[in-house]
Symmetry: C2
């Protein structure tokens, strides 16, 4: 089950890269081409945020080492997700500034920003309670199931954010006549969305009881 | 936790109804107005499919009765979801026919149709194995955790289908200039999406270990 999680995670990464580099304008944060700046957003939000966060959730099962090491890897991968997620988010705000588009009006943006803020809180909470062990052993034992269940809910929300993001972009391209039904690019976007969805599902399966 | 699941389920139902009846064209399967036919789709896919299916998952915890009764309610609510889901699906195919739009090209449609087909299989499987007890007690015991985990994955997928559907419709309305950022209708769609998302999250919390 855990191998399927890794597999779908990597498939989604490869498909996303093919889409952004081959079918779209490429990925460049400092570009004058606003579309290249925009593409930093989907690339970092999946490859930099959802994928490392999912792998961090799997760390307790996939790393052949003692618990303490796994815990450090879990925390560190989530920190990577947090930092790269901030880059991905700032890219879309930069794109909106370049195009004078309004911020945070779509369902995608609402789900995404809510997920990211709650993820930040969950990370700080985890750092203080479990890493720095600010709470007693009994409190940590009581809090752990909640930490897990909230983490799984956040992955669920992050996947919803990714799917709505792909949907928003492909609807926008369709409305401009730049994406036709059943075209190769359209199918590629859909397969990318399914791979991200199945990554979420299999990570959830793998960490579940 | 289970009360929050019911609450978000009902909030989503009310918001969806306000959107379709007040802000959009209303709901009518037999109408000559294609948009009224289309509106049957989101209404039935949430109120007729996702909501009863979620409530069916909660039946083992929310119904104060013996196990056998709960099991029948669980099966019956899923049957309701299956039948009303078929009506919701046929509405969107009818709409596409009326407008000569192609079928099943968007990410929303791929996630939706995959979810619905797998849901149908899961229902038939559950009926044969658990209701008609075609399998031995030991097999049923082995299979039950898989039935649960697949059910939770399907709810996850169904919520993703709903979110991408709302995103597709709102992007389409925006591209026609019929929906402006931060407008009341736009916020209503987003709150509906969040309510459906939290219904999914809290059902998952409630049935989880």
């Amino acid at each position: 089950m855990i191998y399927l999680a890794h597999l779908f995670g990597i498939i989604a990464f490869v498909l996303l890269l093919i889409w952004l580099l081959h079918y779209r304008e490429g990925i460049e944060y400092g570009s004058n081409n606003a579309l290249r700046v925009f593409n930093v957003h989907p690339f970092f939000m999946y490859s930099g945020f959802i994928f490392p966060a999912g792998e961090a959730m799997l760390a307790f099962r996939s790393i052949p080492s003692e618990r303490k090491t796994r815990k450090i890897v879990h925390m560190a991968l989530h920190l990577v997700a947090l930092v790269l997620g901030i880059i991905g988010l700032s890219a879309v705000f930069k794109f909106h500034d370049m195009r004078h588009y309004p911020n945070l009006f779509s369902l995608h943006s609402w789900i995404g920003i809510a997920t990211f803020c709650l993820f930040g809180l969950q990370w700080v909470f985890g750092l203080v309670v479990f890493m720095l062990q600010a709470a007693s052993v009994s409190t940590r034992e009581k809090v752990l199931p909640w930490h897990k269940v909230c983490g799984r809910a956040l992955l669920f929300m992050a996947v919803c954010a990714a799917e709505t993001g792909l949907m928003e972009k492909s609807s926008f391209l369709s409305s401009l006549g730049m994406l036709k039904p059943h075209q190769r690019q359209s199918n590629l976007i859909n397969f990318t969305g399914l791979a991200i969805l199945f990554f979420g599902v299999y990570v959830n399966f793998s960490v579940g009881s």
